[in-house]
Every structure is written in C-alpha cells, then in structure tokens.
C-alpha cells in the first residue's frame, strides 16, 4: 500500500477468528473487504470448540461477537462456501477468481433439523477424525452463524472420473427429457469433439458409474454419440446454427497439429476471440483421429463434422504445412503469432529390440501402416501377419490388416487378457472377426529367409509380481519357445514423438522419450509463449486426455496473452 492510494477492495481468505478480526480491522480503516471462506460457516474451528483458554468462557461468546460484527458491517462482503481459484496481478491490481459452491438450502429453512435425521448420506467427518458420523446436510452445530444449513454435494463419480469433467449427469438428464440441443451444449462446454468421443472414447465414466453396482452402468458414451449424431444430422439438414466467438481480440495464435489437443486449443481460444491458425503436416485434419483410428471405428464424416464446428469459429486449418528445420516456431513468432501451441502427437513407433529386427524386410510400423491405409492405400500388406502389442493400435492394425485381405493375423501380447490396455470391446471385436490372439507370448528372435521375414520365434510368459505400472510383470518360461510363421510383422508397442522437425538450436526441454517437457499445471514449455500438450507430451494416450491437455493449455495461454 502506498501512502496516497489505498486499495479499493481487500480479499481476506479464511473465516476463522484471525480472518474475521483482520476483515474487521481492514474494513475499519475504510477499505472494502471480501471475506472468503471455504466452509459454509464463519467462525472456523473456534466455532466447534466448547470453551476457550485461558478464561474458559464459551467460545461462542468470541466467535459470535466477531461473526455478527462482520455480518453487520456494511464494508464487508462475506463469501462462504467459496474457494480461491487463480490470483493474478495486473498493474497494481490483483484479480482473484473464486469458486462458489451453492448451499442448496433456501431461506425457507427454519432450522428444525429434521433433515439431519433422515439424510442417508454419511460422509467422512474430518473434524471428528471420522469417529462420528455426519450427514450430507450439515450445519455447524447449534451455534450456527452466517451459514445456515448446507447440503454438501460431491462431484458425481462419472464427472469426477472424466478427464475433462463433463457434467454428465446433466446432459444425460437433458437427453432423457428430449432436450437434445441443450444436452449437446453441455457436452460442448467441456468437449469440443463430442461426435468423435461418442464413438472412440474409452469412457472411464461408465466404469465408475454408480448404477453399475446395481446392474449396468448408464450408457454414457452411447448417449453422447446419439446426441452428437443429432447435431451432425442438424448440420447436414442445414438447421445448425454455427457458434460465434465471444468477441474479436485480433491477437494471432498458432496451433501446430490438428489433432485433438491442437483442435481443443484452437476451439477454446477462437471462442474467446483469438485468431487461430492451425498448421497441420498431413493432408487431412484430425491427427491420430484421422491417421491412426480406422474408419470403421470413426466414420470420417463424423470427425469432419466436429472439425467443421471448430472451423465455424473462424479457425483456419492449413493442411500439408508441417513445421520443419526451415519453418520453425521462431518463424511463427515473426509472422506475428503471439502464442504457439505444439500438439505434434507421437508418430514414431518404437522398435522391438529383438535379434533379426534389422536384418530382414517385412516390418511395418503400425502407425505408418494405419496412416497409409487411412490416407487411401488399400493394398494388402502381406499374407500372414503378426501384430505385436496389446493396445488399441495393435487391435486396430490387426483388424485393418484382416479387412484388407490378409489370410492370417495373429496378435502377440506378453501379458494376459486382463492386463491388455486395449478396450475390451475392441478385443472382442477382433476375436470375432478372426484375429488370433496369443496371450502371454513374447518375441525372442525374427526368423528370415532370403532377406525377408519368414516368421518369429516366441516364448511363453508367466506373470510375476506387480511392477511399477501396477500390472503383473511377465517373466519368460524357459523351454517354452514356439514359432509363428509370418511374412509381415507389425510392431505396435507404443510410440514416441518424432521431433526431427526441430532445428538444432531449438531451445526446448525434451525428455528422454523425445517428448516436450511442460509444467503440468499450465502446459507451458520452457520457452515463453509456447505451450504443448497431447501425445507429444504424454506419449500415446486417449483423445479425451489430449482434450484435457488442450483445455489446460488454452486456459493458461489466455492468461499469458491477456
């Protein structure tokens, strides 16, 4: 505080005795005060005590005096049930954002306390260290001040579990009520690719759905698919009203990569009013959604409908425009872009590291394979195909190969079905189609004939103790070797980012997995103004996780750019 100017409003965080006293003192000298308290009640722990030392008079005498004074003070705004979000400093002002939880009990409450008797929800009582039960409807005791009654609502399990925390309960309810346009708006509020996610999201939300304990989980993802298909249909019928940016901020932002992370950043920033240009290396938008995921899982018109929505916001997507050693992020800055997001994905397949891998022809990395197929190359890659790996890419490769006419497609996976990271329904689908899956089998060496792959020697595995990933570690069973014939081997054992496009002096911090190192809270790289997210940071992951990273990056870019 300088001598001349006093602050216009002072935020006091904490409604205990210290916070209350501070608020009164500050307000007493003429400033306005916002008193922020996380719990629904003022008075802090003191409120819950019976006596205070050293005099031993009832603590209520102290707390109620302070609380009543604070409540009656015209210069103090009391914000209970509120938590501090971001604190930003701009010039000599500090901007504080708050999250307020509704109390969910109206003024009609007359404190009869009947609700306490009937409430079936018994959350953990932290004040009493769990020794006693409390109820979801709560009050601070008979000495309630300034907070009345309050229903504590936990975030529903599905929403909590969803990486982007879509208000699932709400949109499912809206769909049930036939309010489809509102439902899709609720989804779009957190997910700019609803049609895509309606088809390929692994929907962890359904895994935790409470209904699942009763019988079956709510078909959340299918409902999302239904309602986004409704939007796609509206669009086709010309009944769709395209979204508009909130304002025009004129600031230019560059997004590198039109995958889910990049598109999310483009969506969020364009909505805010930034002028976003997306630079995409491939001839099609969508990143892995287009190049990796087979069309039978994600129809392209569906994908392009979601992309079109983002383009409606004024986002320009430049295809066939990769970053190279000659066209760098610095060039983007020179072109007037004030912020850059790198959503470059993870396109470089990892090697098997078994003998013979480099000696014979007949290897095709799953990413290259899927990419070529997705871009229109429908030639049969081989006759007898071995796919190595247990993720969705492995299953996608296997099913795609089978559909291209390969005679025999075998998946080798070194653990059991239970540990397989691929979606259950994908594995089932593959098996139904005729893909053979060898569980607990790992490659030992490649067999060749005339410079070409002829097969693979494998070993059986057994599962040992849990490893760092929480899965049981596979251990080779000695003397269990067997041979599988093949003329094509598709390794699908994870990918890492291909960062060969970076010039020598790029200045980025890069991990030993070739990924960009970012601050997890902001997705900021070590270079100012440049953010990164998606597979290029985490390695191969899901679309919904890339969207999450995109949201975080967009939020911090907004702060950076403002």
């Amino acid at each position: 505080m300088s001598d001349k100017s006093s602050p216009r409003e002072v935020v006091v965080v904490g409604g205990g005795i210290t916070g209350l006293t501070a608020a009164l003192e500050v307000a007493g000298s003429g400033a306005r005060v916002a008193l922020v308290e996380e719990s629904p009640f003022l008075g802090g722990l003191l409120l819950k005590q019976e006596r205070v030392v050293p005099e031993g008079f009832p603590s209520v005498c102290l707390s109620s005096k302070l609380v009543n004074e604070v409540l009656a003070h015209p210069g103090i705004r009391v914000l209970t049930n509120s938590t501090l979000g971001s604190v930003r400093k701009k010039d000599d002002r500090i901007k504080v954002s708050l999250t307020h939880q509704p109390g969910r009990v109206t003024e009609a409450c007359n404190a009869c306390a009947e609700c306490l008797l009937v409430c079936p929800i018994k959350p953990y009582d932290s004040y009493n260290e769990g020794l006693m039960l409390r109820t979801a409807i709560d009050f601070a005791g008979p000495r309630t001040f300034g907070g009345e009654y309050n229903i504590e609502k936990e975030t529903p399990a599905c929403q909590e579990r969803c990486p982007v925390h879509i208000d699932i309960r709400r949109y499912v309810g809206l769909i049930a009520g036939g309010r489809y346009e509102e439902a899709i708006r609720v989804i779009r509020d957190r997910n700019p690719l609803p049609a895509v996610c309606g088809r390929i999201c692994p929907h962890p939300c359904e895994t935790v759905c409470n209904r699942g304990r009763q019988d079956e989980a709510i078909a959340i993802d299918a409902l999302k698919r239904f309602v986004s298909d409704y939007e796609v249909a509206q669009r086709k019928a010309g009944k769709f009203v395209p979204p508009k940016p909130k304002k025009d901020l004129k600031t230019k932002v560059a997004v590198v990569g039109a995958g889910p992370a990049g598109l999310t950043v483009a969506h969020d920033l364009a909505l805010e009013g930034y002028r976003v240009t997306v630079f995409e290396a491939a001839p099609v938008p969508g990143g892995m959604m287009h190049l990796g995921i087979p069309e039978y899982r994600l129809p392209r018109d569906i994908l392009l409908s979601d992309v079109a929505y983002i383009e409606d916001l004024g986002v320009e997507i430049k295809l066939n425009t990769p970053l190279t050693k000659e066209f760098t992020v610095d060039d983007l800055f020179k072109q007037g872009f004030k912020g850059i997001f790198l959503g470059v994905g993870a396109y470089e397949g990892l090697k098997l590291r078994v003998p013979g891998e480099d000696d014979y022809e007949g290897f095709l990395d799953c990413i290259k394979f899927l990419r070529d197929v997705n871009l229109g190359d429908k030639t049969r890659p081989g006759n007898k195909v071995i796919v190595i790996g247990g993720g969705n890419s492995a299953i996608d490769s296997a099913r795609t190969a089978l559909r291209l006419g390969c005679e025999e497609v075998t998946i080798l996976y070194r653990r059991s079905r239970r540990e397989m990271p691929a979606n259950d329904w994908e594995v089932e689908g593959a098996e139904e189609e005729g893909v053979k899956i060898h569980y607990l089998a790992a490659p030992v060496k490649i067999l060749g004939k005339g410079g070409k792959v002829a097969g693979m020697e494998c070993t059986k595995m057994r599962l040992g103790k849990l490893d760092a990933s929480g899965r049981r570690r596979p251990i080779p069973v000695e003397g269990s070797e067997f041979t599988v014939e093949a003329d094509l081997i598709i390794p699908a054992i994870s990918q890492q980012p291909d960062i060969t496009f970076l010039p020598d002096e790029h200045g980025f911090e890069i991990s030993r997995w070739n990924s960009f190192v970012v601050d997890e809270r902001t997705m900021a790289t070590n270079r100012p103004g440049i953010y990164a997210g998606g597979d290029g940071v985490t390695g191969p992951a899901t679309v919904i996780e890339a969207i999450r990273a995109g949201h975080i990056a967009a939020d911090s870019m907004k702060e950076y750019l403002s």
Binding site: M1, C61, S64, K65, P142, R143
Partner: protein, 562 residues
C-alpha cells in the same frame, strides 16, 4: 403448553423478553423454561422466547423477527455479560428499526447461573428477580443517538524501543503524523543492550541502527528524546499531552503506549555481583567485548520468576539463555550448563534452536521447583530432577535468567492516561482476546513489553497491530462515542464546580453564561461513570441511560416479589 409466545394488550410499552440458554451455561444450572414462563406474566411483556444461543445468527434473527412481527418497543435479553454482546443485541434492535438504547441486558449467567451452580432452585428464583428488574427498567428507557467526534490526524507514541519505533514507522507509512516520545537520550530501548537476537542470529545493533535510521529519516515522525509525558488531557480524537521538552502541549488523536519493561536485577541472589554472577543482559555485554574467556559457565533459569510474588513466566528468558549458550560455545568454547525448571521454547524455530544448543554441547540439567540450586565459592550445587541426586558444578561465570518486570514509570503513566495495570504492574489490555491491543479507554493502545514480556517478533507484531488499530480511527477522522453521558440542566446548576473537580476524565468544564458560571459535560470525553451525578447536591445532573426514574423502577421491582 408453555405460556411463552405473545400476548396482545398492555398499557405501557410493548416489551419482548429473550431468555438465553447459553447452551448449558445458563440452562444447565437453572430452569430457563420456568424463568421464561415467569417473564411472560410480567407487566408490559407481550412476547417471550427462549433461545439456545441468543447471540447466534439464528438467535439474532429471532430477535429481529420478533421486533417486526410483534411491534416490540423494548427488548430485554437475559443472557450473559454486556461486555461481549451488548453491541450485538443493540445492533439487532437497530437492524429491526428500534433505537438501540431501547435494549436492556439482564445478566443471568455471570450474575446467576455461574455463581449458583449448586442451587438450581435459588438460581431460577434469582433469574426471575433479575428479569423482573430489567423489565421494570426497560419501560423507562429512552432513545439516544451516538455522539460523533472529530479525530486529530496525529498519533502520540510513548516509548522509543523496538515496539514504539515500529508502530511509529507503520503509522507514518500510512500517512499519519507521529510524535515519538523517548525518556532516554537515544532511541532503541532494551534492545540496545542486546548482543545478538534469536532465532535468526542477527546482531541486534545492526537491527536497531537500521530502525533508528529509518525513524530519523521519516519526515512524518517527530522524535522527542530525553522527554517524558507529564500530563494527559482530553479524549479519543483530541488528546492534549504535555511533554517535558516542549513548551506547548502536543495534540493527538490517539496514543500508543510502548514504554517497554525492565530486567529484574537479582540483588542478593546467587551471589549476584555483576562480575562473576551476572544477568543475561549483562552477559550480552560481556559477549560483545573481547577478552573474557571463562572456562565453566553455569546458567540458572527462573531466577525471580514463577515464584510466590511473581507467578508469571517471563517467556523470553529460556530462549535468550539458549541463544547466549550457543554463542558462548562458539566464541569462548566454555563448558556451558543450563539449570532449568521448565524450558519454554514454543514455536518451530525456537524449538530447533534448542536442538542446536544441544548439538553445540550445552548441558541441560532440570532442577525441581522445591530445590533451587545453591551457588557458593565458585560452585553450584543442584539436585537433578532426572538423576534424583545432587550435582556439583564449578563455575567461572554464573548467569542468572531474570524476568522482565514492569517499568517504574508504569504507575504514573497509568494514572495520567487513566488506563489500568494488572496485578504485577504491567499495563492491562481491554480484553485478553477480543481487544488485546486496546485499552478500555478509547483511543489509547498498548504494544510490546509494556503489556507483558514478549520477544522481538511479538513486539513487532503487536506494534503493527496497534498501529493498525490506531489507524482505523485516524483514517476515518471521526469517532462514534457511546451517548451514555451525564447531562447537566443549566437552570438547576449553580456553577459550584464540585463535579468539575471530581470528574476523573476531565469531561466537565465551567462555562460563562448570562446566568453566571455553569457546568457543562464534554460529551466525547464523558465515560458515563456517574460520579458527577451522585455528587451534585442540586440534582442538576442526569445520567443518560441510568436516570433516577429508570434505576428507581428497577430497585422497586426488586422488592415487588409476591
């Protein structure tokens, strides 16, 4: 069915009575329901309500609601002490549109339930009596408006030690003029005699020098050295203070008292001679000088404190001793033994300093309360409480940990400022919790060791707090004073001046009128003590809010018991 509730027809003012249970504080020791039922039968009482906690938000709402719904004209709350909650209940009345002085407080806790815990029946009867008296008085209450006075935007700080200097600097920083009065030739107080300060191992001189330099440079602070306050007149907002070094008195809106404390000189104890047996303060001097290098040092704790006539713990001696013991180990390499009764090292940093001392090789010996050490001919004999046997420790230097004791000037200042001292002679704050830095006399604040032994950190905290309290008044430039003052009817006054002579607050002056000299109350200065009213043989003085009519009604009611 309870008789509590409303009754419609009365002749006098419509009175509402609220009987507080104070949880179990009142209701646990008397029959609150019987009392409430009784109250509903009292004259003019049309509404009675029993509350669990009248001071709670719910209780206050109840009062407000009842005033509106039942058109109450007087409110009587039978609860606790006016000291904490009279303002609360008055504010509730004001909120509901009733003049706050139409409120009557009946104390059935301190005056009844707490003192008659053994006799429930008698306590219930007494509560009835007290309420009957309160109701009787309430009928005669009159509305009043608060008195508003101006505040001179200047502060007077008495004492130039660390507390006084810190408070002065803080007030100056906030833009107020400060007059700082110091008795000694130099600023700095006790800290000037200290060598190093804990817990940060910083030379005290450096700190004091910095502070004195800043005070000297602050253009808003006028420093008066070698000066003492001789007379204090006036009241909050307008104090007139005579200082020895000035011809004209200083006017100030508020006064901060920071006169500090003194170190007890242990004359006649443990062979104290200021040479071989010294106080910790004297040790600070020895440590600062080169030369001395005793082989064995023994320190004795609690010399002159926590004993019959001085029960208190001086709080800072243990830490001072620990700090000095470490310094001795480092500088002189002497063997150091600390004899203690209890170690007071509250706080993380202090606690870790104790660990440092133990690591540095300082020996700690616990002696029992009833067997203090004996020092004779270079040897200390002490019974170790842990070993249960006597130890003999040779010493070359004996250091006595003596407490801080009130400054000799406290009594005179207490009389001048009309502020109280505690049983030991330290200044006594208005309320240990609610108003720790205020005096009961408005506009005078206390900080530092004048109030109680305190470490440097606490002194600074209190100084900043006192400055903050003071600036709430200085900032607004106006002060609201309780209108409970004396009123002199001019026609009845003969101008004898008896009241002027007796008023302990200098709140009555004689003025010249056409009808001769007349006494007049200075409203802002009057504390409403009633001395003048009781003295006036002409009956010219009325005590507002405690008029003869009101008190007579109350006394009458006391004997009206059926």
């Amino acid at each position: 069915m309870s008789k509590q509730g409303r009754k419609d027809t009365v002749n006098g003012p419509r009175i509402g009575v609220f009987v507080c249970n104070c949880g179990t504080n009142i209701a646990g020791f008397l029959d609150a329901k019987t009392v409430a039922d009784y109250a509903s039968g009292l004259p003019n009482v049309i509404f009675v309500r029993e509350n669990l906690y009248s001071c709670s938000e719910a209780g206050i709402n109840d009062i407000r609601q009842a005033i509106t719904d039942n058109k109450l004209e007087r409110v009587v709350v039978a609860a606790c002490t006016p000291r904490t909650h009279e303002p609360t209940f008055r504010a509730a009345c004001e909120d509901a549109g009733l003049n706050p002085y139409y409120f009557e407080f009946v104390n059935i806790r301190e005056h009844c339930s707490w003192v008659h815990k053994e006799d429930r029946e008698a306590a219930t009867e007494k509560a009835k009596d007290l309420i009957r008296m309160g109701v009787a008085r309430a009928a005669y209450l009159e509305p009043m408006e608060p008195i508003i006075g101006d505040v001179t935007k200047r502060a007077l700080v008495i004492g130039g030690g660390i507390s006084g200097m810190t408070a002065s600097l803080e007030l100056a920083r906030r833009g107020f003029e400060v007059v700082l009065v110091e008795k000694q030739k130099q600023l700095g107080g006790l800290l000037r005699a200290v060598n190093w300060i804990y817990p940060h191992e910083k030379p005290a001189a450096e700190y004091v020098k910095g502070l004195v330099g800043r005070v000297g440079k602050a253009r808003r602070i006028k420093v008066l050295k070698s000066s003492e306050v001789t007379e204090v007149k006036g009241y909050i907002g307008n104090y007139i203070v005579s200082v020895t070094s000035l011809k004209e008195p200083v006017t100030a809106g508020i006064i901060i008292l920071a006169t500090g404390a003194e170190v007890l000189v242990p004359e006649g104890q443990y062979g104290f001679d200021s040479k071989r047996a010294v106080t910790q303060l004297q040790l600070e001097g020895l440590l600062a000088k080169p030369g001395t290098r005793p082989k064995n040092v023994v320190m004795i704790g609690c010399v002159g404190s926590r004993m019959r006539d001085r029960l208190y713990c001086s709080r800072i001696c243990c830490m001072t001793a620990i700090k000095n013991a470490i310094l001795i180990r480092k500088k002189w390499k002497s063997d150091v033994t600390m004899l203690y009764r209890d170690l007071m090292c509250y706080g993380i940093k202090n606690e870790s300093l104790l660990m440092d001392a133990k690591e540095a090789g300082v020996r700690f010996v616990n002696y029992p309360d009833d067997a203090p050490p004996l020092a004779e001919k270079g040897e200390v004999k002490v019974t170790s409480a842990i070993l249960g046997r006597e130890m003999v420790l040779p010493y070359d230097l004996l250091v006595l940990e003596t407490p801080l004791v009130p400054a000799g000037t406290n009594e005179a200042l207490s009389r001048m400022l009309k502020v109280p001292l505690d049983e030991y002679g330290f200044f006594l704050e208005a309320h240990v919790k609610l108003r720790p830095l205020d005096f009961a006399t408005d506009g005078i604040f206390v900080c530092g060791t004048a109030r109680w032994p305190a470490g440097i950190q606490e002194c600074i905290e209190q100084a900043l707090g006192a400055a903050s309290r003071a600036s709430t008044f200085l900032e607004s430039g106006r002060v609201k004073v309780e209108p409970i003052v004396s009123f002199i009817t001019e026609e009845d006054c003969r101008g004898c001046g008896l009241c002027v002579a007796l008023c302990p607050y200098g709140a009555i002056e004689l003025i010249e009128t056409e009808a001769g000299e007349k006494a007049r109350t200075i409203d802002v200065a009057c504390k409403g003590c009633g001395t003048c009213g009781a003295t006036c043989y002409r009956g010219a003085i009325t005590m507002k809010h405690y008029s003869d009519e009101q008190l007579t009604a109350q006394i009458r009611a006391a004997f009206e018991k059926e």
